[in-house]
């Protein structure tokens, strides 16, 4: 009884849902059958069946025949056409203005179209009709003479076009090929960019790796305080090094010397600071000196990168004009230099953040180890208050930047107070040396951001990027790349979560640290699935990059959309076919590659 009632209710519900669905999607069966709609469908299908890929060079063939308007007093003049080529006769060969005459043509190209003109004394071509030859190259048509009188002979002219030479790519064909290449490279760059960023992120989004990362309250608080400082400092120092590099570059010689000396000194310092085997833990002084040396290594490396990048730019711009049609190689070299310059401050900021992160972690651990619980608690309270304040102020700054409230009370004072209070509450409530699940917090944040990013399609992201960097393939690469990071990081991290735990334990049990464990036990287990996911994503990116042009992302989609808007269906057809071919080829290629690795 209850069952059948449920079923009845379900049926009614389904009925309502589908009825509503039909109404909102405007299902209209009458439209399908209408004559005009059917014709439209036929037209577009025929156009699609004739892709505009190939063209012939054409030659115009003109055949003239004299005609008199009106008839001369002497009567109808005789005319003997030259019958060695295509020729035309007009009957009668004279007439009053607007009189009808019959035009016959013989020896034309079979099955072609042509246009008939009336050419008065002034020499202009006045179109008076069209014709179509039969299989024997013959036509006959009736036209009306024009209202131009003259006592001289005037002309009727038949023009047709004739293919000469071999078939070659039409302009549309050339554009299509250029754009499809652009499309494939967009997918390549987006996949590469996305993969490189997704790999580190995927470790942060893997629960099994992050769950064991805990740190004492003091470390967490110090991290919150020091990392923003490190990011800022790293960015600033890198920027300053960039300036130094530029002044050095004023001359070639110091630049080259710098480029040679910096890496050499850096290598020597690194050798000293990072000895291969450590017999016993080094003393505090040695550790300090080593840290300073490593800092110097980092600075020298950044300086060297700047010099290198500047040299690349200069060299690329210098050789590009010399390379002729391979100028893109020179441009590429210059671009690589440009990318390095662009990325270095970000890298510097990240390194700064990383260095301060590890300092904060160690300092916090040392405090937790050395201090008595009561002192530690007092210190924790202070640190947490400051940390809460920093965090809240950063959020406040972001809000201010986005919404421009211009109310310091809302974005500075209150956040600072609330942050400090929350920090104090955390510090008071947690045991002084209790390890907080920092890893799980990072995991949660990473997952949330990734999910949010993934739920916005690249096709929508590109709208923002097109506004930022302008409509074109670069915007497409950025949008696809960002979406790839989010999607791949999720897939990757799930892969990390499913690896065997035993080897991880075994490596940890040898006294390895976390990074060593990742390199020796995690990475070997994930290489193959990572490659396979990357190929899969490459596949998706090729598909996406064919349509991302619809939203301003460049590539073949841009061309396709233009042609559709211009109702140029034959041209659009060429692009659709190109997309189909490339996508299916890539599909095949990537599944072949995936089979090879797994």
């Amino acid at each position: 009884m209850k069952r059948s009632l449920t079923i009845a209710l379900l049926i009614v519900a389904a009925f309502v849902i589908f009825a509503y669905g039909f109404s909102v999607t405007q299902v209209n069966l009458e439209e399908l059958g209408q004559e005009s709609r059917q014709q439209a469908l036929t037209r577009i299908l025929r156009a699609l069946a004739h892709p505009d890929f190939i063209a012939f060079d054409q030659e115009q063939v003109e055949v003239n025949a004299p005609v008199y308007v009106p008839c001369p007093a002497a009567g109808e003049p005789a005319y003997t056409p030259d019958t060695s080529g295509p020729y035309m006769t007009v009957t009668p060969s004279c007439g009053d203005p607007r009189a009808e005459v019959v035009v016959e043509g013989v020896g034309f190209a079979p099955d072609t179209n042509g246009v008939l003109y009336f050419i008065p004394d002034s020499g202009v071509q006045l179109q008076i009709g069209r014709f179509e030859t039969d299989g024997g190259g013959y036509f006959q048509t009736t036209v009306r003479l024009r209202d131009r009188e003259s006592d001289q002979a005037q002309q009727l002219r038949a023009t047709t076009r004739r293919n000469i030479g071999n078939a070659h790519l039409s302009q549309n064909g050339i554009d299509t090929i250029n754009k499809i290449i652009e499309t494939v490279f967009m997918a390549l760059l987006a996949t590469t960019l996305g993969t490189f960023l997704a790999i580190p992120v995927s470790f942060l989004a893997a629960r099994n790796l992050m769950a064991t990362v805990t740190s004492p309250v003091a470390s967490v608080a110090l991290t919150l305080i020091l990392v923003p400082l490190g990011v800022w400092l790293g960015g600033a120092v890198t920027g300053w090094l960039g300036q130094t590099a530029l002044t050095l570059l004023g001359d070639w010689l110091p630049a080259l010397v710098g480029l040679v000396v910096a890496p050499v000194v850096a290598t020597i310092l690194a050798r000293w600071a990072v000895p291969p085997v450590e017999k016993s833990p080094p003393g505090a002084l040695v550790r300090l000196l080593r840290s300073i040396a490593l800092l110097a290594v980092a600075l020298l490396a950044i300086l060297a990168f700047y010099l290198f990048a500047a040299l690349l730019i200069a060299a690329g711009e210098r050789i590009a004009p010399l390379l002729g049609s391979f100028a893109f190689l020179g441009d590429f070299i210059a671009n690589v230099g440009g990318i390095i310059v662009l990325v270095l401050p970000i890298a510097g900021a990240l390194i700064g953040g990383g260095v301060f992160l590890s300092i904060a972690g160690r300092l916090g651990n040392t405090l937790a180890d050395r201090l008595s619980p009561r002192t530690l608690k007092a210190i924790n309270i202070v640190l947490c208050a400051v940390a809460g304040m920093v965090l809240a102020l950063l959020i406040g700054a972001a809000v201010e930047w986005l919404y421009q409230l211009r109310q310091p009370r809302l974005t500075v004072v209150w956040p600072a107070i609330i942050g400090a209070v929350l920090g104090i509450i955390v510090a008071v409530r947690s045991r002084a040396d209790e390890p907080l699940p920092l890893g799980l917090a990072v995991y949660g944040v990473t997952r949330t951001v990734l999910n949010a990013l993934r739920s916005v399609e690249a096709l929508i992201m590109v709208i923002v990027f097109a506004v930022w960097v302008g409509i074109g393939p670069f915007a497409g690469v950025l949008a696809l790349g960002l979406h790839t990071v989010a999607a791949l990081a999720k897939l990757y991290s799930e892969q990390v979560e499913s690896i065997a735990n035993g080897p991880l334990e075994a490596v940890i049990a040898t006294g390895a640290n976390r990074l060593q464990m990742i390199v020796y036990a995690v990475i070997p287990q994930i290489v193959a699935p990572y490659i396979s996911f990357t190929m899969y994503r490459w596949d998706i990116n090729v598909r996406m990059s064919t349509i991302i042009g619809f939203a301003g992302g460049g590539g073949i989609g841009f061309l396709l959309q233009q042609n559709i808007n211009l109702l140029n269906y034959r041209a659009a057809s060429a692009q659709i076919i190109a997309i189909a071919i490339v996508v299916s080829l890539m599909d095949y290629f990537s599944s072949y590659m995936r089979q090879r690795v797994v």
């Binding site: 990072v274 000895p275 291969p276 085997v277 450590e278 833990p281 651990n365 180890d369 065997a500 035993g502 080897p503 334990e505 075994a506 490596v507 940890i508 049990a509 040898t510 006294g511 390895a512 640290n513 990074l515 060593q516 390199v519 020796y520 036990a521 070997p524 287990q525 290489v527 193959a528």
Partner: protein, 253 residues
């Protein structure tokens, strides 16, 4: 001489409330071969894993060579761990890596992390790895992928990895439980040899009493997380057996 390992009032309660160890205390003198026995679920693995803190003890102390392991911070814990080799029932090799890389992983606690991250080991370590592989009879398999080896061979790689650590103590958690009896004896002989020739202390959980009688100097028995018996293998008579394994248990072998 102080014992290599001292366990004091060790208790472990898992987060799900299972009390896996209850107030376990015993000393292990240097060079001893100690077998840990007990029913499945009696806490053998938990005990071994508490010693190098793969499992965090709830209370009690583990003192390894005079160092309080339970009080170590991360860096100190890694220095303790690198001197404690561990051998697992399921070998826990990294399947996709070559055998030699698996063996070299035993040096990770000693080498400078930066170099090891790019897979650089000193020539001395490389030579050592080859020597250990030689010792377990797998010198010709160095380049093979670990999962291309048979179970017995994989366990020997596991032993070589532990030996790379220059261990003072080897923890072996049912090292032969997934091998056939013949292979089991060959693996146990390797452990025995390491124990005798190198003076490495071995703490080995075992399921079969014949193996205990053949190789162990001493037996520690757990029942439901409590230390039930601590003595010579020959002292396990029928009464003791029933105490350790429960009243219904029958002696086989």
């Amino acid at each position: 001489m102080n014992p290599i390992l001292r366990i004091e009032h060790l208790t472990k309660v898992y987060p799900n409330g299972v009390q896996a160890l209850t107030d376990v205390s015993f000393d292990v003198p240097r060079g001893q071969f100690v077998a840990v026995i007990g029913l499945s679920g009696s806490g053998k693995s938990t005990l071994l894993r508490c010693i190098n803190r793969l499992v965090e003890p709830t209370s009690g102390k583990v003192i390894f060579d005079g160092v309080d392991v339970t009080a170590c911070n991360d860096a100190a814990l890694r220095r303790v761990r690198r001197r404690i080799g561990m051998i697992f029932q399921h070998f826990n090799l990294v399947n996709r890596s070559p055998v030699v890389t698996n063996v070299l992983a035993g040096r990770l606690g000693y080498v400078n992390p930066v170099w090891s991250l790019i897979n650089r080991f000193s020539p001395a370590d490389m030579a050592k790895a080859n020597a250990q592989l030689e010792r377990v009879g797998l010198a010709d398999k160095a380049g093979n992928r670990a999962d291309a080896l048979s179970g017995g061979q994989q366990q020997r790689v596991g032993i070589a990895r532990a030996l790379m650590q220059d261990p003072a103590l080897i923890l072996a958690d049912e090292p032969v439980a997934s091998l056939d009896p013949v292979l089991a004896h060959s693996i146990m002989k390797h452990l025995d040899q390491i124990n005798r020739d190198d003076g490495v202390t071995v703490l080995c959980s075992l399921h079969f009493l014949d193996l205990v009688h053949a190789y162990a100097d001493r037996v520690v028995a757990l029942n439901d997380g409590k230390l039930m018996f601590d003595g010579l293998p020959s002292e396990i008579d029928d009464a003791k057996f029933k105490e350790i394994y429960g009243k219904e248990a029958e002696r086989v072998g």
